[in-house]
Symmetry: C2
Subunit: 241 residues, 2 copies
DNA sequence: TAGGATGTCTACTCGTGAGTATGATCGAGA
DNA sequence: TCTCGATCATACTCACGAGTAGACATCCTA
């Protein structure tokens, strides 16, 4: 239980030869962050299992085998805990966008890469918090922050779609609605993944990308496409308001 | 405020000539159901605005300009209120399945019809409750009931997909994953529709169906499809476990 | 080895909200 | 006019959970 000294590989054997007074302080700092992370992870898992409102800080503390004030020693409020979980999840998606920017590929391939990472993030332990953190549960300031992050991701997807339509790698479509559909399908994973873990996050993401790519309509012969095509265009026309 | 007698068109002018003692009773009964409906609707709207846990029964009562005990006169608990909202939403989708069964159309067309009604239901006032009613907030019995209803819908979609693959109207795919993707995209409407009501539920549903149908990959020339096709098949192979 | 910093616990406060006991009101029938 | 049942309000109870005060322990530095 009291393994504070035993866990880091650097501790014990080599007690900092030059004995700088800062060394211990740094180590403590690092130690503190490890514990804070553990608190956030534990919170994510409990939120995932029982939902935000049905999880008390006593529950989270119990899961860590400590008491509530200890949890409060690492975070300032339950709300902040949810927020941190959200950020931890969303950060993975932002990283995916950053990584993909460097690639020299058609936009559809880049979009697929992002969607794969997106799906994995949603199926991760932070998925629930990322997807279901409700603005109503948070203070106005945090709510704004979360909305901004969500909007950033949404617009990132829309941009990739637009680029794909331009470079010809994506079938012409309404970027906004398409982004909503893609993100929605992936977000929804967080709702059912708890129940059905027969596939890994990566496998689900891959399967979804396959579905998105192909669409429902069979691709066999071109003649068959005539009628539905016209209908689709009519629908898009209605969307123009 | 006290319009109990003035609202029904049959009241006042024609005070039930034959004067059966049951008449008044019937009328009261109907009256009661109207009020009960109003309670459920008000709850749905408040849940939609602020979430289940952030809505107190005092809030709902205030919205109806009555007090909490009045609400309890029509429902037995907050939980039941949520459940009723859920059922009200889901019933529309079940109706869609029933209606579609009669149609003599390729399965893809029937699926589209269901998805359109599905989208409209999710964008309705009961959408939030239908989509976000968490099992963890409900008693085991109600939770089971809700799960059964959800599962019924899920399997209905899968069945239509399978039929479509068989009758050739749907591109071969994994029915389970495809159903998850479609339902997820539509369910997610409940999350953002509150914020962005620039389109009607029907319009959104129509736009989504268009996206689902076409998929992302351009359909222009067949040669272009060779590589991605192979990749898609590889992914489906991985799904077979 | 004293004294300060860090980390954790016990034992609270306090607001909130679900649900209820009890009684007032009001219309309908006797 | 009196009663009865349906409807609704006042004014509670009670549990739960977020957050805190203050004591205690443990380690680090001087």
């Amino acid at each position: 239980m009291n393994n504070r000294r035993s866990s880091p590989a650097t501790a014990g054997k080599h007690p900092a030869p030059a004995a700088s007074p800062w060394k211990a302080s740094h180590e403590r700092q690092r130690d503190r962050e490890v514990k804070r992370d553990a608190v956030i992870r534990a919170a994510a898992r409990e939120f995932n299992r029982k939902g935000y409102h049905n999880t008390s800080l006593d529950d989270i503390a119990a899961r860590l085998e400590v008491t509530k004030p200890t949890v409060y020693y690492y975070v300032t409020s339950k709300e902040q805990l949810l927020f941190q979980c959200f950020v931890a999840g969303v950060e993975r998606i932002r990283a995916a966008f950053r990584d993909v920017r460097r690639l020299e590929l058609p936009a559809r391939e880049r979009l697929n890469a992002v969607l794969r990472r997106y799906g994995e993030a949603v199926a991760s332990e932070f998925g629930w918090c990322m997807v279901r953190a409700e603005e109503q549960d948070l203070s106005p300031a945090m709510s704004r922050h979360i909305k901004a992050l969500k909007s950033e991701i949404d617009h990132g997807i829309r941009r990739l779609i637009r680029e794909g339509v331009q470079d010809g790698s994506i079938h012409p479509c309404d970027p906004k609605m398409t982004a909503f559909a893609l993100a929605g399908a992936l977000n929804w994973i967080a709702h059912w993944y708890r129940e059905d873990q027969s596939l890994s996050g990566a496998q689900i993401a891959e399967a979804f990308v396959t579905v998105f790519e192909a669409g429902l309509r069979p691709r066999a012969n071109a003649a068959q496409l005539a009628t539905p095509r016209r209908r689709a265009r009519r629908a898009l026309g209605a969307l123009a308001r």
